[in-house]
């Protein structure tokens, strides 16, 4: 139990704490500092106070967590194929397991996955828990949750990592709630606090405006979903030291109310936006919907996908599928070309971790130029045709 307190005698009324609070959770009333209900206990004000008038009180809690050992990663499979994020988890998991001096295990659910489990033996881990049943062939919330919770209660891992994919973000909170343990979503950084044996989870919040460091000191297992394409992938080529342990699942159809009826593939885009290496994105500066053809042309030339800002999607110039940003998709291509996009924070949040950002906008004050690797202050209607022409020529030669 942690509580934040103001030591009134030490408080000088200097108001340094006010400006340090990112959540506007501090108010000065009658020259006294008051901490509001939305205080997050992040401790920024404690650091900021020159008189040490703010303290965090911690109740001593004794919880025996020593029986929880080992780092697990969830091996995500879809249609019998292992998803790329798994290898990123393997890389990260290995580091964490080493820091803890513990084993790294993979947990794989499915049907007829033995072959894939054996492929994983090429990676640096100690165990692979293989749980097979026809009912587990495709991901279903209740069934997967039950299997994993049973296994966790049995084997007591210290840490469980999953990919922050649509599957992971559906499964992890269900598991964490059933286990009544802490879960941190969409982590971009993970490390071990060796003193306390806590997993320090770093993740973006407030749309990426701030980063938060989070721990679950009194609960196990510590769960985290990891943002895909951020961590380094593990490399295969290790001596096969891992063992595959088959577990009998206790599942029945009655457990799962939700049935999968069908899958719809809408192949409107040749290139999936989130998987694209190059994205050409258009905003209000395009002027009118017809000008998206310019985006399409450039994207096709570069072998990329077409993205869009929220404004033009809302105006009906292009389908919502293409929207990049806080309420759209988050993308991390090698190259992001923003055309006529002012680059408001909500858009930036969806694309600013792209490797290279090229911005074309006739407004030199456009915020996009603050994050662009290459900024071009030009009218896109003049610039793009020249770029397209030269790329076409280059393609021919």
């Amino acid at each position: 139990m942690r509580k934040i307190k103001i030591i009134v005698e030490k408080c000088n009324g200097c108001e340094e704490c006010l400006s340090s609070c990112l959540f506007s959770a501090i108010k000065i009333e009658n020259k006294r500092v008051r901490i509001l209900d939305n205080c997050n206990l992040c401790g920024a004000c404690i650091d900021a106070c020159p008189f040490q008038a703010i303290v965090l009180e911690q109740e001593e809690i004794r919880v025996d967590l020593s029986s929880y050992r080992g780092v697990w990663i969830f091996v995500e499979q879809r249609k019998g194929e292992i998803m790329p994020v798994t290898y990123e988890l393997l890389g990260m998991g290995r580091t964490l397991a080493n820091d803890l001096g513990e084993e790294l295990s993979g947990v794989l659910l499915g049907s007829h996955m033995r072959g894939k489990a054996e492929e994983l033996l090429n990676y640096d881990l100690e165990k692979i828990y293989l749980i097979e049943d026809p009912l587990l062939e495709s991901y279903r919330t209740h069934l997967y949750t039950q299997v994993i919770v049973d296994l966790v209660n049995h084997k007591k891992p210290e840490i469980i990592l999953m990919g922050a994919t649509s599957l992971g973000r559906d499964l992890a909170p269900r598991v964490a709630t059933r286990l009544q343990t802490g879960l941190t979503a969409d982590c971009t950084g993970l490390e071990i606090d060796k003193k306390e044996r806590n997993l320090i989870q770093t993740r973006p919040a407030l749309g990426g405006n701030i980063m938060a460091r989070i721990i679950s000191p009194y609960h196990r297992p510590q769960m985290a979903t990891v943002r895909p394409k951020v961590m380094k992938r593990a490399r295969p080529g290790h001596s096969k030291k891992a063992e595959i342990i088959e577990i009998e699942p206790k599942v029945s159809q009655d457990n799962e109310a939700v049935k999968i009826i069908s899958l719809i593939r809408e192949e409107k885009e040749a290139v999936d936006l989130q998987g694209a290496e190059i994205i050409v994105s258009g905003g209000r500066g395009l002027g009118k919907p017809e000008n998206f053809s310019l985006m399409r042309k450039l994207a096709d030339l570069l072998g990329g996908a077409v993205g869009a800002s929220r404004a033009v999607v809302d105006a009906g110039w292009i389908q919502p599928y293409h929207q990049v940003g806080q309420t759209g998709k988050t993308v991390q291509p090698k190259l992001y070309i923003a055309c006529g996009i002012s680059g408001a924070i909500q858009h930036q949040v969806g694309m600013r971790t792209s490797e290279v950002i090229v911005a074309i906008n006739k407004d030199p004050e456009a915020p996009i130029f603050n994050i662009a690797t290459y900024g071009i202050v030009e009218d896109l209607h003049k610039f793009l045709p020249v770029l397209i022409e030269k790329l076409e020529e280059r393609g021919k030669s």
Binding site: G287, K288, P289, A311, D314, D363, P364, E365
Partner: protein, 379 residues
């Protein structure tokens, strides 16, 4: 004098601003270029209950004041003059119904107008009757339980899309203004059809068509006010309408001013942004001052109308001034944007073309000056 907005007004205007900027402003260019009636925008106005602002609650309206209506109209017009005018023209139908209608007429016609299910229009202008309103030629002949209309109207805003029309006819051409008679006419009435529609200098998406009456039978219950009292209906409707048209002009002026201001800060010549040159600064200062003055004339006219006080003079002044300010401001805006301002890449040339109409409709500037002179000389 308390110039502050009430909480309700602030709440409403925040919503109208949000919708206007998120939707109407984005589509304005496109609908103008295509000459397409802004159906989506009108739908939004209906969903927001905006057509019911000045209609009393007992007729399904919101029972609010004309000042609030004016403030709402300003925001709409700033985002899209066409939508603002369609919205404003509706008032020319609801206002005379409220002032001159019988209880039965109000109960029949106002609720659909308040709910936006029907759109309104006002039809006086004819090929031979513009400023000379008394020269209306459309004749209404009295029958047993009906009147028969023959004639035509031109340049009627909302013509063809509107459902409910206030039509000014004459029962005796020799009487001039004293023969005028007003009727409520519904679309679909036999003998009532639509004719040509003109390609305009601007506001191409604004519906302005010819109305044709050929032995059109109007039930006698649809007589508005009394026979040969139509001139009064027209004049009073125009007085209120002037506020609407004035605020429409103000909206265009404000939009043009924002563009000019923004551009002047961005545009660099001679090594500095042009907003640092005195010539531009003085021009912007003049534009801002004129806009501010026009605003308060119009707000005051609406306030007077709400108070039940005589408002016609101030309304006329407001319309005259705002429309001339709009013309000046939009012209200066094009000037500030220079060569680019003259192209269709920027909206200011459109604003300038749009502004011109406001000096003409709802009583030309010449007529307004006459009205004002008339009033002030009597005082």
């Amino acid at each position: 004098m308390d110039f502050s907005l009430s909480d309700d007004q602030k709440m409403i205007l925040e919503l109208v601003e949000e919708v206007s900027q998120a939707e109407f402003a984005l589509r304005a260019d496109e609908i103008s270029k295509k000459g397409e009636f802004p159906g989506e925008n009108i739908k939004k106005l209906v969903e927001l209950d905006l057509f019911g602002v000045t209609i009393p609650k007992e007729y399904d309206g919101l029972g609010m004041d004309y000042l609030t209506w004016t403030l709402v109209s300003e925001k709409i017009s700033k985002a899209c003059a066409t939508t603002g005018l369609i919205f404003g023209a509706n008032l020319l139908c609801t206002y005379p119904l409220l002032v001159f209608g019988t209880e039965d007429q109000k109960r029949k016609f106002l609720p659909p107008l308040a709910r936006g299910e029907a759109l309104g229009a006002f039809a006086l202008t004819e090929p031979e009757a513009g400023s000379d309103a008394g020269n209306v030629q459309t004749i209404a002949k009295k029958g047993e339980d009906h009147y028969t209309l023959n004639g035509s109207k031109i340049f009627i805003t909302n013509g063809e899309v509107a459902h409910t029309y206030i039509v000014i006819t004459t029962m005796d051409r020799s009487l001039g203004p004293r023969g005028l008679t007003a009727f409520i006419l519904e679309k679909g009435t036999s003998g009532f059809s639509f004719g040509q529609h003109f390609e305009k200098m601007g506001l191409s998406a604004l519906p302005n068509v010819e109305l044709i009456f050929h032995d059109c039978r109007v039930p006698k219950e649809n007589l508005l006010s009394k026979e040969k009292r139509g001139f009064r209906v027209a004049m009073q409707t125009f007085a209120a309408g002037r506020i609407g048209v004035g605020i429409g002009a103000l909206g265009v002026a404000e939009a043009a001013f924002e563009e000019a201001k923004k551009y002047s800060k961005q545009r660099v010549q001679f090594g500095r942004s042009i907003s640092s040159f005195q010539a531009i600064q003085h021009t912007l200062a003049d534009m801002a001052t004129e806009i501010e003055a026009a605003k308060y004339l119009l707000y005051r006219a609406a306030w007077l109308l709400d108070q039940g006080k005589p408002f016609e003079k101030i309304a006329s002044m407001g319309k005259l001034y705002a429309s001339e300010v709009a013309m000046k401001v939009t012209t200066k805006a094009v000037q500030i944007l220079g060569g680019y301002g003259y192209t269709k890449d920027y909206p200011v040339e459109r604003y300038m073309r749009e502004a011109k109409l406001f000096e003409i409709i709802e009583g030309t500037s010449e007529i307004q000056r006459g009205v004002i002179a008339n009033k002030i000389l009597k005082e």
